[in-house]
Symmetry: C2
Subunit: 386 residues, 2 copies
Amino acid sequence: MVVIPFQQGTNAERSRHRNRQAVLGQVRAAGTMGRAEIARALSLTTQTVSNIIAELVADGMLVEKGRLSGGRGLPAIQYGLNPKGGYALGIEVRPDAVFAALLDMQGKPVSMERVALQGTRPDSVLAEVSGLYARALRQVSVAKDRMLGAGIVMPGPFGVTGISGMGSDLVGWQEVDAEHLFAEAVGLPVVLSNDANAGAMAERVNGVAQGIHSFAYLYFGAGLGLGMVHEGQLIGGAFGNAGEIGHVPVPGGKLEDALSRLSVQRHMAAAGKEVTGIDMLDQLFLQKDRDLMAWLESASTALGHALAIVENMFDPQTVILGGAMPDAVLDHLVTHAPLPQVSVSNRPEVLHPRLMRGASGRMTATLGAAALVLNRALTAPLSYAN
Amino acid sequence: MVVIPFQQGTNAERSRHRNRQAVLGQVRAAGTMGRAEIARALSLTTQTVSNIIAELVADGMLVEKGRLSGGRGLPAIQYGLNPKGGYALGIEVRPDAVFAALLDMQGKPVSMERVALQGTRPDSVLAEVSGLYARALRQVSVAKDRMLGAGIVMPGPFGVTGISGMGSDLVGWQEVDAEHLFAEAVGLPVVLSNDANAGAMAERVNGVAQGIHSFAYLYFGAGLGLGMVHEGQLIGGAFGNAGEIGHVPVPGGKLEDALSRLSVQRHMAAAGKEVTGIDMLDQLFLQKDRDLMAWLESASTALGHALAIVENMFDPQTVILGGAMPDAVLDHLVTHAPLPQVSVSNRPEVLHPRLMRGASGRMTATLGAAALVLNRALTAPLSYAN
DNA sequence: CGATTAACTCAAATCATTTGAATATTCAAT
DNA sequence: ATTGAATATTCAAATGATTTGAGTTAATCG
């Protein structure tokens, strides 16, 4: 494992980098902003912001958006992100296929591709990934130096042997430094994470969590995952495996026994119906299939438990539900899950609904992989002064 | 509510502050260090570290500790924290009393006092607090400008009405800005938190979590609380109420039904034994009281559930158990709790035991209140460069 | 004993932000 | 319609903090 320095000092160069990040992030969050406005938001002087903006405009990251006359005084020149100023690559590795997406700085996907995998051995996966990356660049004609980085999503958990038989661990990836390998394959800085974390970032960058800095994201993968975002940053845990909420015991068993894709499939199989894909679930839901509705009943209860756990432990602004389920099913769960009474989130006045459905659809994890990069590039973490 | 800026830019002054923090933190963690060593650890130049150290020595925060000859070359001058260089005030407000502790920069308590409360109205509490603070300063003859800040611990949760009947909410504090009031009363920067968070910091600053950057702390208060430390910083949640793990549903009911001080008291009362204090529990445990042992049996099971939740959701380096329980009882729980099989923490090789007993004893929360301040003063959060 | 290694210091250079002065534009009051 | 206050921006000089480079000191290795 790479030794992560626990503390780092800073200098002029790092300060500049941080301030650039902050300016970009601020502009992205607001759409368009003027120099003075940005300066106030970041506790910088207008001159500093002015210098940075000049640089960012020269680099093609920002573009002028005309003057906005509103209040008194000289109308501020508005600046907005230049979507073509930077791109992020998102890669999702599944046991049977690799997905790639290229997102512009705005968070909009500009290319997508899927390649089937023969095996999951590192060599072949890496070769496919380089190919996907090269094709994406060519297809959209993006210069390599416009790339901000690559986000990789793989089935976790990473580096643990205690949980086996999950069937999700990729063969051949146990003993390798995946992050390093991918970084070499694409020649970019790499962020490696799991599907739930990526999904959370997808919602933050482009979905319903825009402008929300602390939230939790419940993700239907094969099992059930959780992404936690605190002050704009993911909480990954000491070993990168935080959020494995599926394994958590609740009344009635493990959470993912009642609330996961495997759980529906098992339930429906017991009723003699083999569920092969998401579309089929969608069909069954439309038909109000009795067995599916029965499963939803118990799943809603389980979701209530999950909420009680997540809300009380993490106290987020909201909880978002997403992943490999039809939107209609997610919506049903969102409206039918019992919101726990005994919860710190049970407030008299609320700014956000306690539970929402995610907006990223089925490609959540792939888009989220790229969103991991965007979030890192556009967010300067808070530091505490005295 | 105070609007917390989500991002902030930085400048020369803030950089310096941050670097000072980082140097102090590094020295504290290592005991003694030389300039070049610190520079390497923080990715700064030796010259920068030299300048900062000169300043810190002049300010009385660091002291020279002689030369250490080990390898080749000029032996480095070692520097260590000057315990008297700074002090942190810790205040714990309980429904019936206020506790105050003064910690030096090393984390060692230099004064402690308890004052009984008539009522918990803000005026009277604040008056007692100012008094305690003034007496502590006089008693240890600490100059006011040596104070780094004050940490306040109060029963939470803060600003929630959904959970009532907990009996822990302080009367008269619902509608006031406690942080501001305390800051005015003592004339210091204030950190406000709950007992579990404070306890976690106590362990980090002076207990078994020294050198551990990501861990979780289970705290026996009236109920059961959880403090989560991630990369050296507390995770407070969006509204400051993260860690209310007691309310979480597990097989058999809410977690704190089986695992809390109230739970033992109820259990023992049902057996006709009124438990009035910790000492009495200690006695009963020594005598291997049958009813207490029965409670411990079920409490251990519950603790196993708690571990499964905390480990899988947060993936910490370790979980620490502490709070208002006799050490012997905590030890019993630590040894008897079933370590969950299905957990991301169930690793083949471990650096830290998965479950440990805290070392701060009964004054955990008060000491922790001050530790909150020390941690903030000595830890520069990581930022991510590209 | 000389070569090498490493820590430290001084002075000058560099980088980035801040300060101060000047200008442009709009709103609001007279 | 005119004037004054408020706000946004820019330019040039000043400031604050880190970095660079040369030089000194001290210990170990061969």
